[in-house]
Structures are given as C-alpha cells and as structure tokens.
Symmetry: C2
Subunit: 343 residues, 2 copies
C-alpha cells in the first residue's frame, strides 16, 4: 500500500513507533516534541498525530493517554521507515562461536542457534530443521550388517540422506536385499518421499502383497526405512516473553504458551515462509495465529549442503526491536547456511 505522507509525518510516526518500542507506554505529543528535539511544538505534533490516527496508523487507548501504533503502522515502519542497525562485531562473534562449539550434528548446531537467537534478540528463538519429506526420492539401498539387522539408506534427489537401522524378524540374504532395493528404486522413481511412503502403505494392504510373501516382507522393511521422524524444531527462550510488559498478565500469557505448545502450529506457520528468500516479517494478525494478538515473527530460511531448506527466526511482541532483530536474523541465517554447507 502506498502511503502519501509528508516527510514530517513520517518522521513523527517513526519517532512514535520507536518510542513505543522502547517504553511500551502510549506516547504523547509533548514526548515526541521533546525527545526528538524537533523544532515543533507539541500542539503541532498533536495535529499531525490526529491525522495519523485518522489514517489508521495510531490509536489511543483512551482519551487522555498518548497514542500507540497500530499493526498498520508497524508494517509501514518496517517497510519504509526503519533504519536497520548493523550487526555488531560482538554479536557476529557470538553467532559464529556458539554454532561452532555445538560440535558436529546438525541438531546440535540448530539447537544452539535457537538459543543464540533468543539471547541476542531477547525474544524467543526458533529454528525448524530441514525436512526432506517433500524431496523427490532418488535411491534406496539395504545393507545386511548382522543377524536380523539391516541398514537402510535413503537418498533424496537433492542429495540429502537418511539412514536407519532395522531389526527384522527373519534373517535376509544380501541378494534378497539387493533385489528388494532394485524393485523399489524402479517403482518409486519421480515420487516425493511422502508419496513413496503412501504408496508402500497402500501396497501392503493390496491383494498381491497378501499372496506374495517376498513382496510383503520387502514392503514391511521399506516402510520402516522411509518413515521420517517428525520435523525437528527448536524453541528457546520462552521465558523471555515474560519480560515483555504487555504479556505480564497471566491470562494473556497462558494463551500464548498454549498456542506454542502445539509445535505443529509453529511448523505450519514457518513452513509458509519457506518459499521466499530473505528475511520475512509477519506482524500481529499477519501471523494468522489465532491467539496472535500482539505477536510478531521475523524469519529467514537457511540451506544445507544438500540443498534442503530450514527456517529460523525470532518470535516477539509486535512491539519488537525490528531495527536490531532483522539484521540479526538475516546474518544468522547466512552463517548457518554457510556452516552447514561446510559440513
């Protein structure tokens, strides 16, 4: 939406948003005039503020209080006003060193990342590990590694792989396993992992499988191999939400916590952002969390060496320090991508 606002109005709006972000108190006309050393009197500011209110950018909680920004105002602020801070040397150091100290496993790195995000932003850090259920199936292989023990290796078209140790009831000969692999590799070409799984489940109940013992056993093992564990998701710093004065009352908070306990909800929320590159910002109702009143979300995606995509970001109040959090999220996403592609 294009806003035609005079330079002065924009400046005042910016001042109000930033003041409110800093203090969480409705800001009055004189505060703006004073704190921003403008050459304007409070009365003038008042007139401008009345305008802004009319345009839906400000509201007053009651007649004799200052004004607070609406979601629309935050949107406008983020889109055209905010002066992004640089990520400080120290913050960069923290991001990188925390990642490194986590050791190898991707889980470790991501977990540490969510903690870092939370620490640097003072809000809630969140990271969703890449999942490859949507990737296209490329190759599966079964390797016998002991009595009744099979290793299944599943490769996606993007090169991501998942391996799984399977205990079976019977012992399988290596040749049989190879035949099984060939069968699957032929049949499942071009499907996504999710589709492969569905197809296998379907065939397991089919007529043919009921009479073909070999097939039936093969399917049973394959099913285990393509079973994908639920999306890994790391949330850190939930307690920091309690620092925010707007959530200091118990009822509000409970809503929010309950919402977040459904991690599925978060995944859903974040996977929406997967498609776009760069930092994405969702303000208040834009998050489409039902209980979202007053919640904002800043995310960016990262990529792994195998080109799978994950999301990381920060959840905080609408009244969030956008100018510093946006660059942090951006930088962190870049660093995580870099780090994961090195592995």
């Amino acid at each position: 939406m294009v806003m035609e606002l005079s330079a002065r109005s924009r400046q005042i709006l910016e001042a109000i948003v930033e003041d409110y972000i800093a203090t969480a108190e409705p800001v009055g006309s004189s505060a703006v005039a004073r704190r921003h050393a403008m050459t304007l009197s409070s009365a003038t500011v008042r007139n401008v503020m009345a305008n802004l209110e009319e345009m839906g950018l400000l509201t007053s909680p009651h007649t004799s209080a200052g004004r607070i920004p609406t979601e629309k105002a935050y949107r406008f602020y983020v889109d055209s006003l905010v002066a992004l801070r640089q990520v400080s040397r120290d913050e960069k150091r923290q991001i990188v060193s925390h990642c490194r100290q986590a050791g190898i496993g991707m889980s470790g790195i991501l977990k540490e990342t969510s903690r870092t995000l939370s620490q640097l932003s003072n809000y809630m850090g969140i990271v969703v590990a890449p999942s490859f259920t949507a990737d296209v199936f490329r190759h599966i292989e079964f390797i016998r590694i002991g009595h009744c023990k099979i290793l299944a290796i599943l490769v996606s078209s993007k090169g991501a792989l998942q391996n799984r140790l399977i205990d079976t009831d019977d012992d399988y000969a290596s040749e049989e396993l190879i035949r099984m692999g060939n069968y699957l590799n032929e049949r499942m070409q071009g499907l996504t992992i999710t589709q492969v799984r569905e197809l296998i489940l379907e065939e397991m109940t089919s007529e043919k499988a009921r009479y073909d013992q070999l097939l039936s056993r093969a399917l049973k093992i394959s099913e285990q191999a393509v079973r994908v564990e639920g999306d890994e998701i790391f949330v850190e710093g939930q307690a920091r939400i309690l620092d925010q004065p707007e959530f200091s009352d118990a009822g509000r908070m409970k809503e929010i916590y309950q919402a977040f306990e459904q991690k599925g909800l978060l995944v859903q929320l974040l996977s929406r952002c997967m498609t776009a590159e760069g930092v994405q910002i969702y303000i208040g109702s834009e998050t489409s969390l039902s209980q979202s009143a007053g919640i904002s979300l800043i995310t960016s995606r990262f990529v792994t060496s195998s080109n799978t995509i994950g999301m990381l970001g920060v959840i905080g109040p609408t009244r969030m320090g956008y100018s510093s959090v946006i660059p942090i999220v951006d930088y962190t996403a870049r660093m995580v991508s870099k780090l994961l592609s090195e592995v």
Copy 2:
C-alpha cells in the same frame, strides 16, 4: 519422622490438606467442620488446628485467614494419610493407546508419554530417555558402506546399541576398519562409555598419535562413534502450570520457566531418582531446585529391553493432586517399561 497424632488430628489434617489441594484457598475451622460432616464444632477444630500449627504442620498467611499446610504436612500426608485412587479404566486406556499410536521409535513413544502424563494429571509431564553413557563398553564395530562412508555400531554391556553414520575425509579399506575395531575392543574393555570417550580424547593429543598416522585417524573416527547425543528429554504441558492460581502472578512464573529452560537442571534432578525403584516423591524444597518454592515432583523409573533406565514423572505445585497423580505415574512407568521391552 514418626508423628504421634491422635486419629482425630490426622483426620483433620487430611481434611485440611485435601481441601487446600482442591481450592488453593486457606481453609478455616468452620470449613473443616462443615464440609467433613464431623461431629465436631468449629471451636474444637480450632483447638486441634492450633496444635497442628505448633507442630509445624500448618501456617496461617495472616491472623484472620484460614490455615495452609506446610511442606512437612504434605510429606506426612503423602507418607501416611493419602488414600490412593485407582487408575480408572479410561485412564489406562489413554495411557496405553497413546503409547501405541506413537509408532515405533523410542523417541516417539516417550514424547507421547510425556504428553499423556500431562493430560491425565493436568500438570507438567516429563520424560527422560535412558542414556547409556554410564553403561560399560562392550563392543564397537566399523563397517564400510560406501565411498568415505562408515557405519559405526557401539554396543554396551547391557545390550543397548547406538549406530552412527560417519563421513570421513579419506576412504578406508574394510581390513583397516576391522583392525581399528579390534584395537579399540581390546583397549577399552571394562570402561564405561563416558570413560571410553575421555580416553580417546586424551590419546588424540598424545605423543604417540602425533606420529602414528594410522592411530590418529582411527581415533578421530572412534571419537565420532562414541559421541553420545545429549540426554533426550521431553517436557509437555508447560502451559498447564499457568492454571495453578499460586503461579498466576507473572514474577513467580517467570522464575519457574527460567528454571525449566535449563533442561540440564531437570536432567540432574531426575537422574538423582534413578537409583531407587518405585514412585519417588519430592516436595517443595526436597526437589532442591533453588527456585523450587511450591514445586513438587512425582517420578518413577522405567526400563527398556536392554535394561537401560529412564525416568518419567509429573511436575506440579506442592498443592498437587497426589492421590490421583501418584497412581498414574506408577501405572505409566509400568506400561512404558512393558511396551519398551516388547520392542
């Protein structure tokens, strides 16, 4: 501690504890007399209550309020008064069916269990997956499964195993891997997994490893193989804490959440309970959580098919529904043990 209390005093104490658990309000003498249909007047009850207060079992928040039980009273209640409820048919059904629907992986089962615990108790459910770092090392084996890809299988004396796929810089021949395995199996006999890891790290920096390239490479791979991921811990139902009126103020709650965010703290807390069998109960300061004011913990341990031990339980306010939660925790631990030993 042996308490000599008349039957009447015990009855009254029980009534007070249960009333307080139900209402979270200080209970007065008349409430006891009325609600428990005793043949006593409130005045008599008052005398008894005065006694109980003297013995350190009750306190009054202020002169003209009812009385509330002290930790000591809860302890006494749990030890000798509480009438444990039966686990209802429906609850049993829920526990079992939730476990089963979670599918195979242990993680899945345990996660679902923590959720069930939370649902049934209406407090916070918590499960710590068994870790085998304390187990004794028995056997390690490296299998080459592809170019620069090795599968390491680590077996503990209790039969628990961990497998890990390792990407290496160089390609290793199968014979070399076998030699490496033999070397380790010989040297590490009788040590715990933790000790094995320490020994390997130590040797990596030793003189010998610096000049013996083969050894150095072997150690590097072994180190990855015995690296154990942090204890898995599942916490569910954190939001339910907010239901408890005693935590409805923001400051209290923040403390608690911050305490729980250090999952390490929880692990430490729970691993203390590992040694004893059966249901363990920690009331208030007995939990030795510094911020524990008003927190109680009911846990029990469970065992897997490989004899490793995990913990599960419920965290709630001291003012917890012991009579129903204790049996639930007990039953759940039994069921999880049974389920995991079937796998």
